[in-house]
């Protein structure tokens, strides 16, 4: 290892001096010269890249995932600290450098995938890897100490950063070991039997505070918009109102004449203005007169007419892409004693993360530096490098906190814009999107029509299940459409897609939001039709799935399902899985029949997320996803007219405010020793159904089109 370091032009001495302690890997934060060469990767993977231990005992653990509010920077560090047996009170957490070969993770948890932070996967994917890496860091320390003390490593015990040798009654802190520890050339894989017994966990499954919270109550947490670089200028962009159209600026000389405007930059999809202040950039942007050229596909898109197109497509005999099938639906459904059908709809919705997109970029002759809050650290670095024709090592990406991601910040469009403008003006640039930009040039959760049909056999059981999802957004449509936990012998679940030429994207829980709304509302409709309790019907359908059943039973018990409901209120129940986690919900609502306003008073939720690393935060993520889900179900709708988004800011795209938050949210996590699953989205998918189901119980009428705005409620009530 020393040789390796020297061969890269940095002596071990310098390494130690720079680091002020020991980093268990050459690729440490603040040491950009120490980039891996390909041939070294195989060996370096065997030692821990995850921690820097200083002689004062402070422990810096590197966070491999984007922190966008989900709290995984704390949970991931806790997993590592648990097996390292570090003193949690001395742990600091820093973002890992953008080195996917080290900090990336594959979907199956294999090391060296991408650093993409999506799909609630951070804890579940990193769990084994970080336990292993933490245990390896401990191994390195204990091996060094064993050699120093001349004892058997296996005789050493640790407790929160202190090592004991019971035979000789000696003890030493991890910080003290830094003085003499040698970084070995390689570290063996620690067998599972040498990892901690879960009953000895001090962090995993326990209560501890989030690392980021103190920095978020005094304004010191750094988001990319907070970055200042010497000589930085400001940029804003007018983007195509109809996707694909191209700009022609009509009043260029007037814009250039505005005091403080430094330059204009033509982009394919818009025109950027660069100015010496943010105010001037925004003012110049608002004054640009642009003609938009080009006949694009999006121009013919009117979203409220799309449902008719979908209806027509649903009648096609050509099957779409199959999500799941079992038995022989086409043979059995026609034989059913009775069939039940229903259609569900959902409008486009917008991410509305509180921090409008922004990035700071400084493109130089043969390198680039970028500051951004992104869900795709390595993807952004690579996109920037490819865009500029640079080697990715020449792109220095500084990751920042994200003011919400929800899927929008896994795109890199806004970073490329900043890079293009910086390159054009040869200066560091802060690009700021306005809220209107963020909304109108959004990339939305797709609209869809969901056609469901169930066949009931002579015993009153659901024998056939047909679900056709028709919408736009291709692969975004199918997630969550399958129902593996409901045993129905014949099923056919398919997706049919029409490309409208507008921008669509993953939105928290992706297709699970619309699909679970349709599925779980339909189950409720079948139950009412069959005069069965909707909770009991689900129990029957999932009777061979004990984990799912336990989650459903838990929420029914918490909400005292079946007990009397206060006057003027009703409850609804639903079940949904997401990212491997199982969740069930019950809500209690009332409706103001004169205004059409739905009030959700209480929500109960149960969750099985396998081993839960940070239960307090896991519950809070579920609470957050319930509230965001509630917002989407009650209020949110993006519509297109001739390809143009009709909304522009929070006055015509309202999101939930405090007055509409539930009065109470009661959550429980089911204890489990199963592998961890994704939690950050698990509460969201059932929200549409629990509200529609409660509404049906209360009014005898059914809401089948999200969002459930007062207008739609009044329409349904009067029908």
């Amino acid at each position: 290892m020393e040789k390796q370091i020297e061969s890269q032009g940095l002596s071990r001495r310098k390494f130690l001096k720079v680091g002020g302690g020991i980093t268990f890997l050459v690729s440490a934060v603040g040491l950009p010269a120490l980039v891996f060469k390909k041939g070294e990767l195989a060996e370096s993977k065997q030692i821990s890249a995850w921690v820097h231990l200083a002689s004062d005992g402070s422990v810096t653990i590197y966070n491999p995932a984007s922190e966008m509010g989900q709290g995984t920077m704390t949970a991931l560090a806790a997993i590592f600290a648990e097996e390292m047996d570090a003193d949690w009170s001395k742990v600091k957490i820093e973002d890992a450098p953008v080195e996917p070969d080290i900090y990336g993770i594959g979907w199956g948890g294999e090391r060296g995938g991408s650093m993409l932070t999506v799909g609630s996967r951070s804890v579940s994917a990193h769990y084994n890897n970080l336990r292993q890496s933490g245990a390896q860091a401990r191994y390195v320390l204990l091996s060094a100490l064993a050699e120093k003390w001349g004892v058997d490593r296996k005789e050493l015990k640790t407790d929160s950063g202190v090592v004991f040798h019971p035979k000789s009654n000696k003890k030493i802190t991890y910080g003290e070991i830094v003085e003499f520890v040698k970084i070995p050339g390689s570290v063996p894989e620690i067998p599972d039997s040498d990892l901690k017994n879960p009953k000895d966990f001090k962090l995993i499954g326990k209560d501890y505070q989030r690392y980021d919270v103190p920095f978020k109550v005094d304004g010191s947490a750094v988001y990319s918009g907070d970055i200042h670089v010497p000589g930085m200028v400001y940029a804003a962009i007018v983007r195509s109102p109809v996707n694909g159209t191209q700009p022609e600026l009509k009043n260029e000389s007037a814009i250039r004449g505005i005091k403080g405007v430094l330059n204009l930059v033509s982009l394919k999809h818009g025109i950027g203005v660069v100015a010496n202040s943010m105010e001037t950039a925004l003012k110049a942007k608002s004054m640009m007169e642009i003609t938009w050229k080009g006949d694009t596909k999006a121009k013919s898109h009117n979203s409220q007419d799309a449902y008719e197109e979908y209806e027509a497509l649903s009648k096609s005999s050509k099957t779409g892409s199959i999500v799941a099938q079992a038995g022989d639906l086409n043979r059995e459904l026609p034989k059913a004693q009775k069939t039940i059908q229903a259609d569900y709809k959902n409008d486009y919705i917008y991410h509305a993360q509180m921090e409008p997109l922004n990035a700071v970029a400084h493109v130089k002759a043969d390198s680039a530096e970028v500051w951004v809050g992104t869900q795709a650290a390595d993807g952004t670095r690579n996109d920037v490098a490819n865009h500029l024709g640079l080697d990715f090592k020449s792109v220095n990406l500084h990751t920042c906190y994200l003011g919400g991601g929800f899927g929008r910040r896994s795109m890199t469009d806004f970073v490329i814009e900043a890079v293009d403008i910086s390159k054009a003006v040869n200066l560091p640039v802060k690009l700021q999107w306005t809220r209107e930009d963020d909304l109108q040039y959004g990339a939305f959760r797709p609209i869809s029509l969901q056609k469901l049909e169930a066949g009931i056999d002579q015993n009153g059981n659901i024998n056939s299940w047909k679900h056709v999802v028709i919408g736009t957004g291709g692969g975004l449509l199918g997630s969550g459409a399958d129902i593996p936990f409901y045993d129905i012998p014949n099923k056919l679940i398919e997706v049919r897609n029409i490309d409208h030429g507008v921008r669509t994207k993953h939105w928290r829980a992706v297709g699970h939001g619309p699909n679970k709304f349709a599925i779980e509302t339909f189950v409720d409709e079948i139950a009412l039709e069959q005069k069965k309790d909707p909770y009991q019907l689900r129990r029957e359908l999932m009777k061979n799935h004990p984990r799912e059943l336990a989650v459903l039973d838990k929420v029914a018990e918490m909400a005292k399902w079946g007990s009397p409901v206060p006057d003027g209120r009703a409850r609804g129940i639903a079940f949904a899985e997401r990212s491997g986690s199982l969740a069930a919900g019950v809500c209690e609502i009332s409706v103001d029949r004169s205004t059409g306003k739905i009030k959700v008073h209480k929500i109960w939720g149960s969750l099985d997320g396998g081993v839960v690393v940070h239960p307090a935060n896991a519950k809070y993520q579920m609470e957050g996803s319930l509230v965001m889900g509630l917002s989407s179900v009650l209020f949110e709708s993006i519509t297109f007219k001739e390809g143009q988004v009709e909304q522009s800011n929070f006055y015509d795209y309202p999101i939930l405010r405090m007055e509409d938050a539930p009065e109470e949210i009661i959550l429980e996590i089911i204890p489990s020793t199963e592998k961890p699953t994704g939690i950050g989205e698990a509460g969201l998918p059932f929200m549409g159904a629990i509200i529609s189901n409660a509404f049906a119980a209360l009014t005898g009428t059914r809401l089948r089109h999200m969002p459930f705005t007062p207008e739609k409620v009044l329409e349904v009530l009067s029908s």
Partner: protein, 151 residues
């Protein structure tokens, strides 16, 4: 133009154009970035600061409106995160993404300064203009209620 006001207890002077805005002056000229840009039209409250103790949306406030006044931002609410609301925010672990929380805390601080013991309805009415996308509303409420009881 030259603007003078008291920022977080200290006199400051800012040179900026006539149409300079308070939010961008705080963030870009004075480099106090705890105050956030969220909507630009006074609909989300992420940019809330105090002028002479009253909560204002800095995104729609011109710098000239601060002239001669006392402006307080999240950075000036306390020197060391010790304002009772900041302590309550930590105790209740309120923030998720955190982006709106400076605005939430500043809005709440103005309420408690005026009405040390608000009821739930009063809190909701006062806080309703500050949006949170992560869904932290119930903990914000709890943190304010706990603080009110202690004050």
């Amino acid at each position: 133009m030259q603007y003078s006001f008291i920022l977080n207890g200290k006199p400051v002077q800012v040179t900026a154009e006539e149409d300079a805005n308070l939010l961008w002056s705080l963030r870009e000229r004075l480099k106090l970035t705890g105050t956030k840009f969220g909507c630009g039209v006074s609909l989300c409250g992420s940019c809330t600061v105090h002028i002479d103790g009253k909560p204002v949306k800095s995104c729609i406030t011109s710098l000239s409106q601060a002239e001669g006044k006392r402006v307080t931002t999240i950075e000036g609410l306390s020197e060391d995160r010790s304002h009772p609301l900041q302590l309550a925010w930590i105790e209740e672990q309120v923030p998720q993404c955190g982006y709106c929380q400076s605005g939430q805390i500043m809005q709440a601080a103005a309420l408690l300064a005026e009405n040390p013991n608000p009821n739930r309805e009063e809190i909701i009415k006062h806080m309703n203009g500050v949006l949170c996308r992560c869904g932290t509303y119930l903990r914000i409420l709890k943190a304010i209620e706990k603080t009110a009881q202690k004050v």
